[in-house]
Amino acid sequence: MLKSEDVKVLGSWSSPFVMRARIALNIKSVNYEYLEERLWEGKSELLLKSNPVHKKIPVLIHGDKPICESLVIVQYIDEVWSSGPSILPSDSHERATARFWAAYLDEKWFPTMKTIGLAQGEDARKAVIPQLEEGLVLLEEAFGKCSKGKPFFGGDQIGFQDIAFGCFLGWLRVTEKMNGAKLLSEDKTPALLEWAHRFCSDAAVKDVMPETDKLAEFSKMIMAKMRAAATPKS
């Protein structure tokens, strides 16, 4: 008799990458055990064993197999639980487009956003904002093309591109709050503004999307720790 499959996610509540894995599992209605890593207190044995190469979250553990890298995990989930709603588009050109934008977010857009946290001084931070806005304008355009008038990048339901981008909304809102900026706006990104509300309210998302205030507090704490670590000790 086959035991019901054992699915675990190693993660952290504040990580957008972890959110991706959890949203994907929720879309497929897969029951899983969530294990919170307290990263500031040191990484768990299980994490170090499951992701020896990067020692990072998220890790999906399916049975005894660990899968690492959030987008790799999402695709794995889509392929294994194939009877659930599809996460990747069925058309191969659309799949390529979804993957392209996910790569853009991970390699260009989000790293740019992270520099705000480490930027020294108001001017340095303000200089980054237009770059982020430019990226969002590109995504607004992409949304128009991909959604074709439907509520999500994926069409009627949340798909790969929605997950890849939507996971950053918490941090986007923190950035807006802490810099007095409006990254998503009615004049430049009206469609994305509405999409963001829909995404965050979706059943697969709402329980795993962190609250902006909690994230902002956490962000302040990390920045304080980072500055302390960067200060030379005599």
Binding site: K65, I67, E69, V72, Y76, E79, S92, R95, R99, F100
Partner: protein, 227 residues
């Protein structure tokens, strides 16, 4: 019905060569368009990849796809002969993991180690060797990363099989040696010996001359003009 397949690439770019290799492995006919990526990118390239303005771009029946790993997945899904990804979802996930490791960590580390100024070299080399050690482990004694045949990870690691050795010769600094990484070293041989791979690699002497010029001319850190 004939299909229109075009590749916008650059002769020396490992990323554009990945795309060509995948197409050749699957027996797909394509038209190749050489881009002058350093001085004069064509209006078509800028039109088909407005976000990054880089090679490679695959054009299939008028629709462009950019980013080499994205293109490889597209090629795999579109032309079914000689698969480059395993069928099993876990094995597929592992292949994608290693391809990403190559692009995110390994290639940047190797590139940096190759071109580092003297004072930064030791650390850069250490990081690069860590990556090579990890890859050696991932190969796990197999003939190819893909197992018995060339797969996605092998294609993604093309830089290591061909470009790295040439850079080593140009700079005089060795990173990948048979002593330190015996399996990986053997893999480079296996990989470039495949006839289809050999046909899709840039000529060694031309690449060597290019890198030597670069060393002679450049005092600043090199920039990647293609991905």
């Amino acid at each position: 019905m004939s299909e229109e397949v075009k590749v916008f690439g650059a002769w020396g770019s490992p990323f554009s060569r990945r795309v060509e290799l995948a197409l050749r492995l699957k027996g797909v006919q394509y038209e190749y368009i050489e881009e002058d990526i350093f001085n004069n990118k064509s209006p078509l390239l800028l039109k088909y990849n407005p976000v990054h303005k880089k090679v490679p771009v695959l054009l299939h029946n008028g629709k462009p796809i950019a980013e080499s790993l994205v293109i490889l997945e597209y090629i795999e899904e579109t032309w079914k002969s000689n698969p480059i990804l395993p069928e099993d979802p876990y094995d597929k996930a592992m292949a994608r993991f290693w391809a990403k490791f190559l692009d995110d960590k390994c290639l940047p580390a190797l590139w940096k180690a190759g071109w580092s100024p003297e004072n930064e070299r030791e650390k850069a080399v250490e990081e690069a060797c860590e990556c090579l050690k990890t890859l050696e482990g991932a190969l796990n004694g197999k003939r190819f990363f893909g197992g018995a045949t060339v797969g996605l990870v092998d294609i993604a690691a093309n830089f290591i099989a061909h470009w790295l050795g040439i850079i080593q010769e140009a700079t005089g600094h060795e990173l990948l040696s048979a002593e330190k990484f015996p399996h990986l070293f053997k893999w480079t041989d296996e990989f470039v010996s495949c006839s289809i791979v050999k046909e899709s690699l840039p000529p060694r002497d031309k690449l060597l001359a290019f890198f030597k010029d670069r060393i002679a001319g450049a005092m600043d850190a090199p920039t990647e003009a293609s991905k």
